[in-house]
Structures are given as structure tokens and as C-alpha cells.
């Protein structure tokens, strides 16, 4: 009862849960792609309020978490150089590289700056013509229009001292990789709402058809998530698999065409490595040849980076939905937000951080989970 009273419309939440309960006759596993959704789910105990037939699996939708170690190490190397102003979003500061993080580099004298927007980094380049300003351009489709605009402006302004360290990733190839994995249990997706605000939904019908999975575009509020689950379960029970938009107030079918045009002008699709997961074909963007001069990897020699993943960290399995964070032996012991082994523990959107933050420290056994669910069930 504790959780549902915290919904902004508890009555509607109860009705949605009732309908999910009445609809689900068999076990179904759904993956929420977005890390923001994962936090909302854990914070509001949505996974515990659901009937036991419906399981939520956490997806790889946290840009900080999936940025590969090699790129983190390149960022640390560039940020350590004299004459460089290295700009990053704040949530990259404590993501561990092989032997340190950006926070440490700053402490050691590197000029690391936190920016709110890539345009702030651009402004730094304009006001510091004698310095090299490098912006850490990570993120999914939601972030790409901003980074594309920054580099587009840099070229227009003739700023030769601005570059991007690019590690952009795309959701549809990740869905494809997850569904293609032999151990995959995912039967439906809650697609990330704000990614679709930019890209629209055109890339999804083919995936829904090929893998026979419902894809429901879902927002971030607890009621949005319950509605997404309700629609996905309804499709699964009736043997359907199509794209539905449960976040129509922020997502149009064609997304934001102006933003997509800018992305396509500046970036081209490329293979990308995902931290803990490995290389996924066509899963990222890189700067096109016309913008290659603004690519930090071309401007700085960072080819001799040697990376070493901590052997204990199972964040890759967490990101693919193969295990829950608490199934990792390091969780809450050698790996905590203060001493993170992997990015899923340090990122504000990481699944491990969500479990740690909301006190899912002692994961009950599956049997205990069922008992706990019955105990907590507000509408049974």
C-alpha cells in the first residue's frame, strides 16, 4: 500500500493494475528500455505491484552506463592534457575508467568542466581561442540533435579549437541485439518516450514484425509506465505485436523532423561498442566526413589506450536484462555508489544505482518475491 499512495492519481493506478491483473493469464516478460523509466519503476515499486505473471526486465537505456570503457579512457587521456578544456555532462564525472575517473583528473589538475548543454562548450571554445575545447558527446537519439547543432554551429563559426569525443548510440539496433541473443526472455518492450520524441516511431514496426514483439512507446511517470504495461500485456494476450504510442502528448509518429534532419546532416550510422555488451552493428553515430575535422579522436592521438574491465562487474548482463542487479556478487559489497565497479552503479539512471538507492539490498528469492508481492498487493 505504501507505494501506490505515492502515485499522483492512486485511483487510476489501481484501475490500471486491476486491468493488468485481469488481462494477464500467462507469464510475460517486458523490457523497459530507458534508465529513467527503470528509476521510476523501482522508486514507485511498480515491479512489486504488478501481478506475478508480469515481469519487468531492465534495459540498456542509460547513455552513461553503455559508454564503453575505451571511450572513457580516451576522455581521461584527453582531459589530462595541458591546453585542453574538457567539457562533460555532470553524470560522467564519476564513471570509472580503467584506473580513474574525470573527477580524479580534475583533482590532478586537468581542466574538466561541467556543462549543461553542448552549446555551453561551444561558447567556451569561442571565448578561449588559445585552448582546445573538447566536448564529451555521449547519449542516445535524444541527445544527438543537441550535439549535432553544436558541431554544425562550430563549423559555421569557423571554430578550429572545438571538437567532439563522440560515443552516440541508437536504440533500435540494441533492441535487435537483445532479441537476437539466445538467452533473451523479453517478449515486449516499453520503448523510450523521449527517444521517440526526436526520432518518431518509424523504425519500430519492422522490429515488432520480425521479432513478434509489441513495442509500446511509454513516458516516465508511474501512470505512463502502468499504461504502457497494460497495453503491452493486452497485445501479448491477444497474440498481437505492433507499435503503440502511449505517450502521444510528447511523441508524434514522425518525431521532430527538424532535429532528425540535423542529425542526418552531421552524423552517419556506424557500429558501436556498448560497455559490458560489446559491439552492436549499426548501433551508433559518428561524425560524417564533412565534420571529421571536429572529431576529437582525429585531433588527438588516443590510439594507445589499454583498457581493463573489472572482472567482477556484471553490468553487461544487467544491461541486457540477463540478471537483476542484486544477482551480481559485487552488488552492495565491493560495488557501491561510493566505490562503483561499473557505470550501472554510478550513473543516476543506472539499474544498479536504482536498486541500491531504493533499498533493494537484500533481494528476496523468487519464492519470497511472490510472497512479498501478495503481501504488498493493494488490490488483491
Amino acid at each position: 500500500m505504501k507505494y501506490i499512495d505515492e502515485f499522483n492519481d492512486p485511483d487510476l493506478a489501481r484501475r490500471l493494475l486491476d486491468e493488468i491483473r485481469a488481462t494477464a493469464t500467462r507469464p510475460w516478460a517486458l523490457m523497459e528500455v530507458c534508465g529513467g523509466q527503470t528509476h521510476s519503476i523501482i522508486r514507485h515499486g511498480i515491479d512489486q505491484l504488478l501481478p506475478e505473471q508480469v515481469e519487468l526486465i531492465h534495459g540498456p537505456g542509460c547513455p552513461v552506463c553503455v559508454t564503453p570503457l575505451e571511450i572513457i579512457d580516451k576522455a581521461l587521456e584527453i582531459a589530462s592534457r595541458p591546453g585542453v578544456i574538457f567539457c562533460s555532462f555532470g553524470d560522467m564525472l564519476r564513471v570509472p575508467g580503467t584506473d580513474r575517473d574525470l573527477f580524479r583528473v580534475k583533482g590532478e589538475g586537468g581542466d574538466v568542466r561541467v556543462v549543461y548543454s553542448p552549446l555551453d562548450a561551444l561558447e567556451l571554445a569561442r571565448s578561449n581561442p588559445d585552448r582546445e575545447v573538447v566536448f564529451f558527446a555521449i547519449g542516445f537519439e535524444t541527445t544527438a540533435p543537441a550535439n549535432a547543432m553544436a558541431v554544425h554551429q562550430a563549423r559555421r563559426l569557423g571554430l578550429a579549437n572545438f571538437s567532439l569525443l563522440v560515443s552516440h548510440v541508437r536504440v533500435p539496433p540494441a533492441i535487435e541485439a537483445i532479441m537476437s541473443a539466445p538467452a533473451c526472455r523479453v517478449q515486449g518492450f516499453l520503448a523510450a518516450g523521449h527517444v521517440c520524441s526526436v526520432m518518431g516511431t518509424a523504425e519500430y514496426p519492422e522490429l515488432a514484425e520480425r521479432f513478434g514483439v509489441p513495442l509500446v512507446v511509454t513516458g516516465f511517470e508511474p501512470l505512463d509506465i502502468l499504461e504502457g504495461i497494460r497495453r503491452a500485456v493486452r497485445q501479448l494476450e491477444s497474440g498481437e505485436h505492433r507499435v503503440e504510442n502511449a505517450y502521444a502528448r510528447a511523441v508524434r509518429e514522425d518525431g521532430n523532423p527538424a532535429a532528425v534532419r540535423m542529425i542526418e546532416e552531421v552524423f552517419e550510422v556506424t557500429d558501436r561498442s556498448w560497455r559490458g555488451i560489446g559491439r552492436i552493428p549499426s548501433s551508433g553515430w559518428r561524425l560524417t566526413d564533412a565534420f571529421r575535422a571536429f572529431d576529437a579522436e582525429h585531433r588527438f592521438d588516443v590510439t594507445r589506450i589499454r583498457t581493463e574491465e573489472p572482472a567482477e562487474c556484471r553490468s553487461g548482463d544487467v544491461l541486457q536484462g540477463l540478471i537483476k542487479p542484486t544477482e551480481c556478487s559485487a552488488f552492495g559489497t565491493t560495488c557501491t555508489p561510493r566505490t562503483p565497479l561499473g557505470a550501472t552503479m554510478v550513473s543516476s539512471e543506472g539499474a544498479c544505482a536504482a536498486y541500491y538507492l531504493y533499498r533493494r539490498m537484500n533481494a528476496p528469492t523468487p519464492q519470497a518475491t511472490r510472497a512479498a508481492r501478495e503481501e504488498m498487493n493493494p488490490v488483491a
Partner: protein
């Protein structure tokens, strides 16, 4: 940074290049690029991500999301002092002199 935060357009600078405006996020005001929602008007709500408005949102949804993000502590993460937060997480003092070089760009 993955979340996009709704805010209200309180002023538009039509002469800015790229087009920009002042957005109110539940009390915190910041400039954002409006180039991707060029026909937006003062008083409308938009979803803003890393300083870029990406779509419009109705007022009721925007206010509900803002309330949720505040409860989740996400507004503090988005707009607060990232160095202090990192120091807190690391269990150490904030990196010295960050105010001189780190916060000015925000």
C-alpha cells in the same frame, strides 16, 4: 542527463542564432535552444533536453512531470552543482576551485 525536463517558455530571443528562449523549470530558469520547435510561443510548455527544446507538452502533463522529477531528485541532478554531487558520492571534498572553472559554464 537522459531525461528531458518540461519547462515553460517565458521569453523568446528571436534575434539569437540559433533561436533561443528562457525556460522556467519549476523555478529554475535557463536558456534553451528553440531551433527544433521554431514556432513555439511564450507561455507554452516544451520538453527540454541538454539545453534543447525537443517537443511541446500540455501544461497539465508538464506540471505533473516536474513534480515527479522533483520528488525523484532529478531536478537537483539536472540543475544542481555536479562537482559537489560527485564529491558527495565519492565521499571526498569537492575538487578545489571548481567554482572558478567548472560552474561558470553552467
Amino acid at each position: 542527463m537522459c531525461l528531458a525536463v518540461p519547462g515553460k517558455v517565458v521569453a523568446i530571443d528571436a534575434s539569437a542564432d540559433p533561436l533561443s528562449g528562457l525556460i522556467d523549470f519549476g523555478g529554475v530558469r535557463k536558456q534553451a535552444c528553440l531551433e527544433y520547435v521554431p514556432d513555439v510561443r511564450v507561455g507554452e510548455y516544451v520538453i527540454v533536453h541538454v539545453g534543447f527544446a525537443l517537443q511541446r507538452l500540455d501544461e497539465e502533463s508538464a506540471l505533473a512531470s516536474l513534480k515527479l522529477f522533483e520528488e525523484l531528485g532529478l531536478l537537483e541532478e539536472e540543475f544542481g552543482d555536479a562537482w559537489e554531487q560527485a564529491a558527495k558520492e565519492a565521499g571526498t571534498a569537492a575538487v578545489a576551485e571548481h567554482q572558478d572553472s567548472g560552474s561558470d559554464a553552467r
